[in-house]
Symmetry: C2
Subunit: 646 residues, 2 copies
């Protein structure tokens, strides 16, 4: 009977060894020390494996196509769109490639950099388009190498539009997408997942529909992993195409490209580019309402929903690819109506993970960057290795300098005028700064009637979890304890808790209470006296902009402040208070006063001098209450401090 | 004000980096990934640093001297004495060196192997004596290299007694201890801590007391770290010697050697060897009672206590070194009466740590060897690296084969006759085996009136912690669930808890309930059906001697079953249920049936065939209840299984 059960493994069976190269002897235990927690299968699978797994599980999925923006401001907006649309759970996004726009450059609007941002900073599985026509082998290899270096793992291999009217095949050149597919497989082996384009009506330049199908088969047999189709207007177009593909032996996934009509002009332009014809029944609806954008969009949504339903119901389609035109509303609505937009409040880890392959094993970070994960990823992008399981005594954590506060993916989403409304056109003293902090916490409008929805240290409104501490936070901010980061203590809540949960289900999560704030040296002096009473229970780090640092951390060891216990796994401790990293964070936290706030005002202006004074004289303090099963004592510490001052 | 506080560190200050060599680039984070938890300063300091720290803290300490035993059985006894006397908290023990006894060999009675056992298997800081007279440089270097390889870190450098009557200095040879000290420093730099001998009355062969002091100074200036003295009978002898040493510039620690008189003959022999004279006042007491061992020992204890008190009260003495003559009672009593015998129930980790330097960072082990830590250390002795922080997915944990069940430090303390009395001269069926297991759990005598104080898998009576589960264990053992390892679930008890606590104070310890047992295939069949109801909550591994293995462990990942949360530190998770190691443990656990039990009986005898049957047909099962905050469900699992069988 025993031999019949499904979970059988032999004595010699071994699990995956992701631990990287080991130079030790055979008896070395090294392999076992750097392996992965496999917390989230998504972090370890390639795109084609994810696709396969979703298909096998009968899950329907979607993906989203974007084009690179024209301006830096548009890039900022696109990145927040990635974050918002990423919340719906796309299997991947893709970024198009326009040879005229210097797509492989380091410009903040290049395809390469937008894709890099999506992978590294938004944690999205991303496909970078790449065209090969009219390009040298060296150029292409260079782009691919750069993509690999940036952590991109998927390429959509395209021919691209030939430049000029009279295009001729180059001997040994890149004439067709299939040449690019072959080149990628030759030069990069199996590193990239490769996607190619399919044309449900046949490529406009192909001799015939059948000839185009044969070209597609060539691309697949040269090494492409899956196909995304050009847009089409009738479900039967796609279903016929899919059957025809299968009939000639194409077995890889074929993903229909869906174009929700969003406006009269964008439709016309797309149709012109793709040389498709809009069916008469659609024209008949659209022409009469062509100046009514809302009506056209509603119709487009209807049409897309009904087409997608038909595709999914056919049983042949598992995923849908959306041409978003960088817009949110229509696609999101289609997805929600189809029921495949899935906002999953569960997080694999309590912070936003990056999708760079070298960060697959990363599962520990200092808590300081909790509200600035993109900055953390930026400052650690050069690391070869990421902490797994334990942070360790980092003698030199080697954080990159943060001088580029204006990098588009680190920049505030709000323009200067809005920030001034929130933070004050004119400051009259330290108290007016206290007021800004207090309004941010309470969510109430400031004296000029504006809500404070972001701060230099946090570009988003208060997190739900921090909301748990709102009343206490309000009280202390009013009195000059200017909080920028905090978490309540948690003594074993289910890992599925909608507010503080993370990780696989069936587990328990824990936290030590944490409070981080700027405050005056007067308050620090009193605080230090009070902290003597809390010795051992409360760990503290207190530092000013010059780096004078007061701490009771034993041996500069990190203190784990968030951890989780899961069925059948080792302990995960994703956030720590690390004394050494705190000094790198301190530089950034103090600089944000100047870079984000003081610089809103004229040089020498009183407002600017107030912020400068705080920057020069305040301390940055963090406190951890080690006794997580007891009531958080940090509020009492602050209370005692104020009492001592009175 | 802030600058006055004591805990100040600059931004560039860095903590110790124990992480070993790093070959990464400057920006690599590698350093931070392999560092030590510094859970227990004792594991990281050298002996001379520990001595200094204890002295600075005003702590009094003691150390114990042993000589290598003559026979293998005596070695077994000596090792249990190490364990028992180690519990009193000696700063170190030392093992003497007798050139005639082949002290550097691999014999189980050699000084080298006894010291190796003390360090590696008993976790004791150990000094190995070494003499140099009449030995070649190569011999000595060979001994030192071997000592280093075995993890010994301290050498007592001695001349030793010249062989033969007519001893002459060899040119460039090792004529005096100082030559050995110089040699060690030349060849091994600062690796070893070196101790040398001091003679409070002057060395018997020295020209004069003053000349001997000068020799001692030479030894210290050649690189010795501290001095242990020859025995003496009056405190003033030592105090004068110490002052004289200080007067000529000897500033290192000088530790008085204390000899509690334990019998008439041993005293006479020692005095003869050391060429000391017993003071008349002592002779006057001893001669009349020379045939009354107990009376002499009582007197010896009195004398030693009063001398030690005087030494400690002088304020010049911080530690006392005891010549135990391999006996326990007298020394232990002196230490207890002095109040420096300190049985500290607190453990740095829940299992017995080894003192080998390469195991300093070790803080994770599989739970299976909980009752056989020496076997675990033996089977992992060839590892270059030990798990720190996380066990990891061990694709090849490379445990050494355990064929040497008769290695003296792995052997049962009880002789064959005693084992037969406990486990049965004659077995009549599987039920009589159930009975042995049950008697071991309950502590009640077996049917022949003998208590079962050990089992093949556990050479000691039931642990206090396991006692918490006694009633349930009794019930299941009676019915053929033959338990060999278990722990209750713990949801956050203080780390100072006398039964389940471990690690620094101020922390909280946790456990998942664990149960490991042998049982018949009939019970396993029912159990597997029951376990379906507990899927996700209970992880199981079920294996027979042939390696057929049934498990629901995800991806063969380890499951942390003991962990601790401490102030200002990362999480420590010292025990895991590792699916891969379980298969190595399985070999050992099954072999113990045969090696320790079956072989007590004649070949082909019914008793032997019963054990052989169990060995061949039973399964080894382990169960973990992942829901540690809830009531342990494993008893219910077993209950359900029996119900299903009925």
């Amino acid at each position: 009977m025993v031999n019949e059960t499904q979970h059988t493994c032999s004595a010699s069976s071994s699990s995956r060894s992701d631990g990287g190269s080991s130079s030790g002897s055979e008896s070395s235990k090294e392999n076992s020390r750097c392996s992965t927690p496999v917390l989230d299968a998504d972090r370890h699978e390639r795109l084609r494996e994810k696709m396969r797994r979703r298909q096998d599980a009968g899950d329907k999925w979607f993906s989203l196509e974007f084009f690179p923006p024209r301006t830096a401001n548009a890039a900022v907006n696109l990145i927040s769109r990635f974050d918002r649309m990423g919340a719906g759970g796309p299997l991947f996004i893709d970024v198009t490639w326009h040879p005229a726009g210097d797509p492989g450059s380091d410009k903040e609007t290049s395809s390469m950099i937008i894709a890099n941002t999506a992978v590294n900073y938004c944690g999205l599985e991303t496909i970078l388009h790449m065209t090969c026509c009219n390009q040298t082998k060296d150029d292409i290899t260079g782009h691919l190498q750069k993509a690999k270096r940036l952590g991109l793992k998927n390429i959509m291999a395209l021919r691209g539009d030939p430049a000029g009217e009279e295009w001729e095949e180059e001997v040994d050149g890149f004439n067709y997408a299939v040449d690019l597919v072959k080149h990628i497989r030759n030069e990069f082996d199996d590193y990239f997942d490769i996607c190619v384009a399919g044309y449900p009506k046949g490529h406009p330049e192909a001799e015939s529909y059948e000839a185009d199908l044969r070209h597609l088969k060539e691309k697949v047999f040269a090494g492409a992993d899956f196909i995304i189709t050009q847009l089409f207007f009738r479900p039967e177009t796609f279903l016929k195409f899919m059957k025809d593909c299968q009939a000639i032996g194409i077995t890889c996934p074929i993903i229909p490209g869906i174009f929700p009509i969003q406006g009269y002009h964008s439709l016309r332009q797309l149709v012109k580019l793709s040389k498709l014809e809009v069916p008469q029944e659609i024209k008949d609806v659209i022409e009469p309402i062509k100046d009514n954008d809302a009506a056209i969009r509603n119709y487009g949504v209807e049409l897309a929903v009904s087409m997608c339903r038909e595709l999914l119901d056919s049983g042949m389609v598992h995923g849908l690819h959306f041409y978003t035109l960088n817009r949110e509303v229509a696609t999101t609505e289609v997805l929600k109506r189809l029921g495949i937009w899935k906002e999953d409040p569960r997080r694999p880890l309590p912070w936003a993970v990056s999708a760079h392959p070298k960060r697959r094993v990363e599962d520990v970070r200092p808590i300081f960057w909790a509200s600035r994960p993109k900055s953390y990823i930026y400052r650690t992008q050069e690391w070869d290795d990421f902490p797994n399981g334990r942070w360790g005594n980092s003698s030199s954590p080697a954080f990159g300098e943060l001088k580029d506060y204006y990098l588009f993916y680190l920049k505030s989403k709000s323009p200067r005028e809005e920030l001034l409304k929130m933070w004050g056109e004119e400051l009259t003293g330290e108290e007016s700064v206290f007021e800004v902090f207090t309004c941010y916490i309470t969510g109430e409008p400031n004296r000029n009637g504006y809500k404070v929805t972001c701060m230099p240290w946090n570009d988003d409104p208060l997190a739900t979890e921090t909301n748990l501490l709102k009343d206490q936070l309000e009280k202390v901010n009013r009195r000059g304890i200017l909080t920028i980061n905090s978490q309540p203590n948690i003594n074993g809540k289910p890992s599925t808790d909608p507010i503080v949960g993370w990780g696989p289900s069936g587990g328990y999560v824990f936290q030590k209470a944490y409070l981080e704030f700027f405050t005056s040296s007067e308050i620090v002096t009193a605080l230090l006296k009070v902290l003597k009473k809390y010795e051992l229970r409360v760990n503290y780090h207190i530092v000013n902009v010059k780096g004078q640092n007061i701490t009771n951390a034993p041996d500069l060891q990190p203190n784990a402040v968030t951890w989780g216990i899961f069925p059948g796994r080792e302990i995960i401790q994703p956030t720590v208070v690390d004394p050494v990293s705190f000094l790198s964070w301190k530089d950034e936290a103090f600089a944000l006063w100047i870079e984000q706030w003081a610089k809103l005002y004229e040089e020498e202006s009183p407002s600017r001098m107030i912020i400068q004074y705080i920057h020069d004289n305040y301390y940055l303090v963090n406190l951890v209450d080690n006794d997580f099963p007891l009531e958080n004592c940090l509020w009492q510490v602050v209370e005692d401090t104020f009492e001592l001052l009175n």
